[in-house]
Symmetry: C2
Subunit: 219 residues, 2 copies
Amino acid sequence: MYSFTEENYLKAIYKLSYEQKQSETSTNAIAEELDTRAASVTDMLKKLAEKQLVNYEKYKGVSLSDEGKSVALQVVRKHRLWEVFLHDKLDFGWEEVHEIAEQLEHIQSDRLINRLDDYLGNPKHDPHGDPIPDKSGALFIENYLPLNKVASGQACILTGVSDHSTSFLKSVEKWGLGIGTCLTPGDKNEYDGTLEVELPNGEKIVIGQKSAAHILVKI
Amino acid sequence: MYSFTEENYLKAIYKLSYEQKQSETSTNAIAEELDTRAASVTDMLKKLAEKQLVNYEKYKGVSLSDEGKSVALQVVRKHRLWEVFLHDKLDFGWEEVHEIAEQLEHIQSDRLINRLDDYLGNPKHDPHGDPIPDKSGALFIENYLPLNKVASGQACILTGVSDHSTSFLKSVEKWGLGIGTCLTPGDKNEYDGTLEVELPNGEKIVIGQKSAAHILVKI
DNA sequence: AAATATTTTTAGATAAGTCTAAAAATAATA
DNA sequence: TATTATTTTTAGACTTATCTAAAAATATTT
């Protein structure tokens, strides 16, 4: 149906407009996200606009059309379901699944992805805690809080991370944290921004401001 | 490492030289196998020769180099392991698995395929009975007999099929046959070539010459 | 508002893979 | 062996996706 490249562009636009909480996205942002040049992005945006997958006006930024958004959500669905497969069934760590899922997300077969969904028990979240769109592309977005916004002493549950980089995920793992871990933030060092966090076993760890901002929790 | 297209060419050359039991393969045969034009094949053969993946001399046919054969066998390994996954875990019929595996076979990750292999219990054959190369590309080739060569009254076990077309596989299924079914060929109609076959439950079915030639058995 | 900086787009080139039509080589037949 | 038929290769064009360098538009500063 659509090429790998087209799918990657649509996914990137979806991701950026979601992160920036605005539908319009810039050429440069897409180029950076896809590790390519702005000129290449302009070329592709013209093609996507031709196919009515995006709303694009020269120099004015770009946004997904309904069809484009639907395609992007299907790719996200496939990506996250494959991540669950890799993590739950093949025992890959959460820092390893992303890269392989980048390839698997482009496999074309509705029957395959729906059976995989059932086989995995219709999971609602991927190994990083991100929600998985259903067959129709519907996405249930929960409003998680970054740990650095939680009041001291307020116990909460780790529900996800907003940075999927290997280095960050590895350090989260080293601290013994994972989805579902109960956390209680304690003292915050106003000078260097570090935060003390108490774990269920009573152990106390110290994490930096940047990490605290990328650990998502619910109360 | 290698592109989808390169992998498909190498796999096609491997398949043809295996089927024809000779290492040299013709341009036209490859074109037909890949549903493309002879001119395109010539172009690609030059590139593959450049990369030392094939031994190619103008007008003289082509054969795989050691490296080319190794790549082809890894693709075959991936294809067949994914077929087992689709069949055993996701419950796809044996006539459905080939098409999806054609896509999955190009996913690049040694770690993935080796874990998948373990997860599936290191199967020795795919759902059609074809042998699966091991990590190192070694293939244990059993010498199966087509059913039409088996003597009347000689009981045997269905071990594979040498045609993977949907129409053939569907009719095999309709007869109630599958890998492991015990078959006893009976009378052969010399006029129209049909063969009577007795099943374990005593039922007798009649199959055509062409089908009998594509059902592989061991005694 | 004018000058400068940044972002975005155009123009033209490149690489991978494919195609058609025609030429060259090989194989088959009279 | 000469002629015909088939197979294979070349030549040149097309598509998709990319790039660099330069031009145009928009934003930011002074």
